[in-house]
């Protein structure tokens, strides 16, 4: 049974979320504060996904996400935000969350999103990736991206990627050599449509560049295509 941690201080919302997620067959635990959530997330494999409210009383959702990632826990995180402003989404993604849903949300969409995160996690952790062209590892320019472990090995270093960092890299690898529009990335990787600020992707690109590029400010693999989006070059010519 998949375990989901719901971090929500509003008792009514927490109760309703628990009821519905349990009805979907998940085991649910509630944390009313960010501090409690961090305590529960100390064990890396304690949960399969986290539903994280942003406006928490003391330690907010952004801080919780950053601390969870800093502690080396890469559990998929879906953030819920009441404000739904583009800068909140950006901030959430920068903090290391994988997906977001503005409040008030549609129950079926929430359940579908959680299902999506869990499925992706499953794809990444099964030896033979269920996605058609998802090879287990991809080697480029002396670097190895392991789809299964969500790891990027460069030289002697190993970087652990979050689920959505890995998904984005996988998508760019699938489309290697051609420019991919930001809107397509949002739609295909995150299932987010028109109304989302496309800058949301940029923070993920910045993080990926830090892992992949020798000089993140002068990228050779993850190239910005002005006015369009990004292009992934596995073996740059220069």
């Amino acid at each position: 049974m998949k375990r989901i941690l719901v971090v929500e201080d509003e008792a009514h919302l927490a109760k309703g979320l628990r009821f519905n997620l349990e009805a979907e067959g998940y085991a649910v635990e509630i944390a009313e504060t960010g501090e409690r959530a961090l305590e529960l997330l100390k064990k890396p494999d304690a949960f399969d996904a986290v539903v994280l409210d942003i406006m928490l009383p003391a330690k907010d959702g952004f801080a919780v996400a950053s601390e969870v990632r800093a502690a080396g826990n890469y559990v998929p995180i879906l953030m819920l935000t009441a404000r739904g402003r583009p800068e909140d989404v950006l901030k959430g993604f920068e903090a290391g969350t994988d997906d977001y849903l503005p409040k008030p949300f549609e129950l079926s969409i929430l359940i579908a999103r959680i299902g999506g995160l869990l499925r992706r996690k499953e794809w990444s952790s099964t030896a033979n990736g269920a996605k058609p062209d998802a090879a287990q590892v991809f080697t480029f320019d002396g670097k190895v991206f392991d789809f299964q472990q969500l790891q990027l090995r460069t030289g002697g270093e190993t970087h652990q990627l979050t689920l959505m960092e890995a998904e984005l890299l996988r998508y760019l690898i699938q489309n290697r050599g051609r420019p991919v529009p930001r809107k397509d990335i949002l739609a295909d990787v995150w299932n987010l449509h028109a109304d989302t600020d496309t800058r949301a992707i940029d923070s993920f690109i910045v993080r990926l560049r830090r892992y992949i590029e020798r000089e993140p400010t002068e990228p050779r693999h993850l190239i910005t295509v002005r006015g369009v989006g990004y292009r992934f070059e596995p073996e740059p010519k220069d």
Binding site: H12, L13, G16, P57, A82, R83, P104, F105, E106, L107
Partner: protein, 300 residues
């Protein structure tokens, strides 16, 4: 995080203002030294420089005030968005649950109760926002009437007991309320002021409630209603600020949800009725006492 970056932005502008001001003063002094013998130019120059300095001071003060105001409005918008969207999100989720899942009678009744509570919360927030707009303009004093303040407070206490499911022990009332305390004003506004203070005491003293509402007549001209709770208390530095519009005490006090309008409404109402409101607390964790003073009138 955002507050820190804002504070940095304000600090930058204040520093910039101070540097420009310092430069202007230095230039002024140099001007005086250089033109000390040419009286006409000297006087003209001093006047111009004085105008420039005054301009810089006024602009800096204005800028800082605007930044503070923006900050407060921003935090108010956040609070109101949260206060509006959270109950709507909850109601929607329970409606969808009722629609798509088989539920037994007890569960259904429980979900209806939750939705009703969320509706109350929503109505409460909407009313606070509307009232805050109203109190700034004020109501027509010609509609004022003599109000039996003792009865008004007793009714408010009973209503609060009912709304917050409190026993007589958790919310007590003391002092004279036998119909001989009369004030003049708008009964609806006075009810709002009294209810806001009682609701605050309930909100900020969870989970153990021990609230006393006391009516007193310290002199023949005034009546004072005090609401005393044994809740989380208020730091001494915050006792005055809490009555400002949109202001909310930072830190753990924000765990209690609110818009930052309640006490502002109370103070506006009290002052318009010729009275005032004050807060006292021995500090964090020691509870607090809010007192609203109103001028008494005597029936003729």
């Amino acid at each position: 995080m955002r507050i820190t970056s804002r504070a940095k932005a304000i600090a930058f502008f204040i520093t910039l203002g101070a540097i420009v001001l310092g430069l202007a003063i230095a230039l002024n002094v140099t001007w005086i030294v250089l033109h000390v013998r040419q009286i006409g130019t000297l006087v003209l120059g001093i006047i111009f420089f004085a105008v420039i300095i005054a301009g810089v001071v006024v602009t800096t003060v204005f800028l800082v005030r605007e930044i503070r105001r923006n900050e407060q409005q921003d935090s108010f918008l956040n609070a109101v968005t949260h206060e509006l969207k959270t109950p709507v999100a909850s109601i929607r989720m329970y409606l969808e649950t009722l629609e798509r899942r088989p539920l037994d009678d007890t569960q259904r009744r429980e979900f209806y109760r939750i939705m009703l509570e969320d509706t109350d919360r929503l109505v409460g927030t909407i009313e606070q926002v509307l009232k805050a707009g109203e109190v700034r303009h004020g109501t027509d004093r010609r509609d004022w009437q003599q109000v039996d303040f003792g009865k008004l407070v007793t009714d408010a206490v009973e209503l609060a007991r009912l709304r917050h499911h409190l026993g007589a022990g958790a919310l007590r009332m003391s002092g004279p309320h036998n119909g001989d305390i009369t004030v003049r004003g708008n009964p609806e506004e006075l009810r709002t002021a009294v209810a806001n203070l009682i609701d605050n005491a309930v909100k900020y003293s969870q989970p153990e409630r021990d609230i006393t509402v006391e009516l007193a007549t310290p002199d023949i001209d005034n009546v004072v209603m005090s609401v005393h709770d044994r809740g989380i208390g208020i730091p001494p530095t915050e006792l005055k600020r809490i009555f400002k519009r949109f202001y909310r005490v930072p830190g753990k006090w924000r765990q209690v949800k609110g818009t930052g309008l309640g006490l502002f409404i109370v103070r506006s109402i009290a002052r318009r009725h010729g009275g005032d409101v004050s807060a006292a607390s021995e500090g964090e964790g020691h509870g607090s006492t809010f007192s609203i003073r109103l001028p008494r009138v005597y029936r003729v």
